[in-house]
Structure formats: structure tokens, C-alpha cells
Symmetry: C2
Subunit: 247 residues, 2 copies
């Protein structure tokens, strides 16, 4: 799939360029000086399926952090999010999730599977196609890291995509049981963030998932606060993880 | 109790001074330039009850790290360790521990209580006396942090000693059940290291202990490797924690 830039703006220290990859919208951030200098490593910025427009402020913050460390950052819209067509396979699961959540019932494995697995199956090849296109740009070199977002997408990418050499994962979303098996096949260095009091997260499942990862180097950083309350110093530690592995 | 310096040597970047506090041996490390400049914050270096002589190489490494960040570091011998008289109250528990460990049996709460609680009860007032003496030195100011060693000593100190404003704890030793209750009374910022595969540590107990701490700011950093396999970057993260809270 061909990557076409559709707009460009300079934000102080980074250049932000919107692009399309086929029908998929995406954004690339490069350090202000990158086009004039040697190719830089790349961090793929994962995000929850809330749409790039809604996520934009938080993505820009993360991209600036990456640029300050000398990295490019890029993201693409997830299937079914933003202006992309709804993902038919997950629509019923979304309705079911809303129903059990409002009723205060536990979210069943069936709902989690139906919600997450089709998203992972469709998203992962798209992120790989984005990687093909981004790594062909002269200003992007490697190595590549993956950061945040839907953790199951990060797990699958870490297993199937050899160009990703390190991943920072956020233990804050539903994880289908089959992903625990996939996690055993992850061998790249991992930095896992867990919000200890995340109301929407199953803490024990997050600890079990951390235990399952096959990586020899893996760190779990648990901090206080809810889902969006990740402290500044936790972000700094994640940045240091990528600096250790991508430089 | 009066503090008497008994020897002094310069190790490149730090000045190491042995001292006695009454009958208790101790060591103070100050940044090479400290005596000539403003008073510096202090980190108390906890350690396992193996004797200061045996622990010296690791303590020097930690003290150098502290000095590089602008901190003094100090430690004292634990009751019953090194050249100090055996701690009669724990002798039977040591025998019992060896017996059940060699037999591959679980270590009972009774053994853990008998092993740890008398040590905590005697050590904590000694560390407080050391703090009195150290803070009266012109080259030591504050604030004070406590780092590592027997975690129950760190917990008790964090509860009873208001001059300690931040603690880095190592979840790697037996914890009496009553310490979980004391942990709820800890309110200072905590940085807790857990070696995920520490063969001598009960991982679930460590996670429960982390959950029990009353501190609003607490981070758990879990890394791979055994008891002594704490990776370099985990030490760096702990150093950054103290820099955030002692500067």
C-alpha cells in the first residue's frame, strides 16, 4: 500500500504529517531536524479504539517525548475507529459489553474474544503495511519499537513482526485467553505499565499476562491511579526503556 | 550515642569513613566535594543480615551511585551480624529455618516472626540513633531516604521515623504477617523492587504487601532474574526516585 502525505505542520520541535495508507489515515511525527540528518529509529504509537482525532492531544505529547529522544513516531487509525467503517465483527460485542457493564455483570470471555480478536486480526497486518511504507522513507531508519494501545495488538505484533525489537505495553484493556498463549511466544524486551487501581482492568489478569511473556528481559512498572493517571515519571521510565533498546 | 570516626579513605569520587556509634560499627560515604560545600541529603543503606564486611562491595557501589547524585550514604551493622554479638532471640529461629529449608518444607509464620521481629525491634531504634548522630554532622543536611535491606526494617522505619521522607524497598525477604498491618500506616512515597523469579521470595506475598502500603505514591518495579540479579536499569530507576524526592 502506498503512503501519501496529505498535510504537514511544524509544532515547535516536531514535524507532524498526516498521511493515508490506502484508505487508512495515519500520522507521522519526526524530530524537527530529522529530514536533514541521518535516519532515525521509529516508535509505533498504539492507542485505544477511540479514533485518532480524540486521541490526538495525548498522541502529540507522546510523539514530542519520542522526538526529544531522537525518535520518529507514527500511528494509524484502528479498524472501526474514527472515520473508518465500523468493524462489523465487533459491533454485537460492543452492544453486549455495554449491556453487561450497565448491569454490573462480569464481562465474559466470549464478549472479550468477540470484541478484541477481530480487531487484532485486522489491525496487525495494517500496522505491518504501515511499517513497510514508513521504513521506505529516507528520514526513517530503524530499529522499531511499539508502544501502548490495545495490548493484544502489541502482543501479536511482537510475535509476528521481527522488525519490532522492543515493546512498551499498557496492561489496561481486556485480554482474550488465547493471547496468554501468544504471550509465551514474545521474546523481545518488554516494558509493561500497570495502573494498580485501574477500575476497568483485571489486576490479576495483568500480572498473569506479565508472567506469561516469554521475554528474558521484561519489567513491570505498577503505579497508583486509574486508567489515565499514569504519572509523569512512569512515562519517563518508558522513554528510557526505548532509548536503551533503539539507540 | 556518640559517633566516632575510626578511619577515612578517599575512593575516587567519595570519601568513606568508618565510624562507631556506641558499640555499633557503621560507614559513612560523602561525595568527594561535600565537606567543602553545602550540607547534602542522606540515604540510609539497608542490607541483609550478612555482616558489613561481606556486604561492603555492594554497599560501595550503591554509595557511589548516591554520591554521583549528590547524596551522602550511611549504614550501620545489624544486631547479631558481623562482629556484633549474636542476637539470642533469633538463634533458635535460624536453626529452625535451616532445618525446614533443608527438608524442603514451607517456612512457617512462627519461624518468620521469630526470625524477623526481634531484629526489627532492636535495629530500628539503632538506625534512629544513627540518624540523630549523622544529621548533627555539618556535611549532612536532609532530607533522608531509606533504601533496601530487610524490608520489615524499612517498613517500621517508614512508619516511626518522620525524618525519612522516601523509601526504596526490596521485596526479597520474609515478611511477618503483622508487618502487613504496619504497611498500611506507611504514607511516604515508596519505590518497591521485586525480582519476579526470586527463588527465596514469595511473589504473591510481595504483591499483597505492595497493595497494603498506605502511600498515595508507590511504584512497583518487577524485573526478571533471581535475588541478586537486579538489572542495572532498575538501580538507575531507584536512583531517579530518590533524586525526585530528596532534591
Amino acid at each position: 500500500m502506498a503512503l501519501h502525505f496529505t498535510s504537514e505542520q511544524r509544532l515547535d520541535d516536531v514535524v507532524e504529517r498526516d498521511f493515508t495508507l490506502g484508505e487508512i489515515p495515519g500520522i507521522l511525527w519526526t524530530p524537527g531536524s530529522a529530514t536533514a540528518s541521518a535516519p532515525v529509529p521509529l516508535i509505533l504509537l498504539g492507542h485505544p479504539p477511540l479514533g485518532l482525532r480524540k486521541m490526538h492531544p495525548r498522541l502529540v505529547t507522546r510523539a514530542r517525548h519520542a522526538a526529544a529522544d531522537g525518535f520518529a513516531a507514527a500511528t494509524i487509525e484502528l479498524p472501526g475507529s474514527g472515520d473508518r467503517p465500523r468493524l462489523a465483527a465487533t459491533e454485537q460485542a460492543r452492544v453486549d459489553l455495554r449491556r453487561v457493564t450497565e448491569a454490573g455483570e462480569p464481562v465474559s470471555d466470549e464478549i472479550i474474544d468477540a470484541l478484541v480478536l477481530p480487531l487484532v486480526d485486522q489491525a496487525v497486518p495494517e500496522w505491518q503495511a504501515a511499517l513497510d511504507a514508513l521504513l521506505s522513507l529516507p528520514e526513517i531508519g530503524g530499529p522499531v519499537g511499539y508502544s501502548g494501545g490495545v495490548i493484544s495488538i502489541g502482543i501479536r505484533l511482537a510475535v509476528v513482526e521481527p522488525r519490532i525489537v522492543a515493546a512498551g505495553l499498557f496492561a489496561g484493556s481486556f485480554v482474550p485467553r488465547t493471547m496468554f498463549e501468544e504471550a509465551r511466544h514474545v521474546t523481545i524486551p518488554l516494558h509493561v505499565l500497570l495502573q494498580w487501581d485501574d477500575e476497568g482492568n483485571d489486576r490479576q489478569a495483568a500480572l498473569d499476562l506479565f508472567d506469561a511473556f516469554g521475554s528474558k528481559e521484561k519489567s513491570l512498572h505498577a503505579n497508583m491511579g486509574g486508567h489515565t493517571g499514569v504519572p509523569q515519571y512512569a512515562g519517563d521510565a518508558a522513554a528510557q526503556f526505548f532509548t536503551r533498546h533503539l539507540k
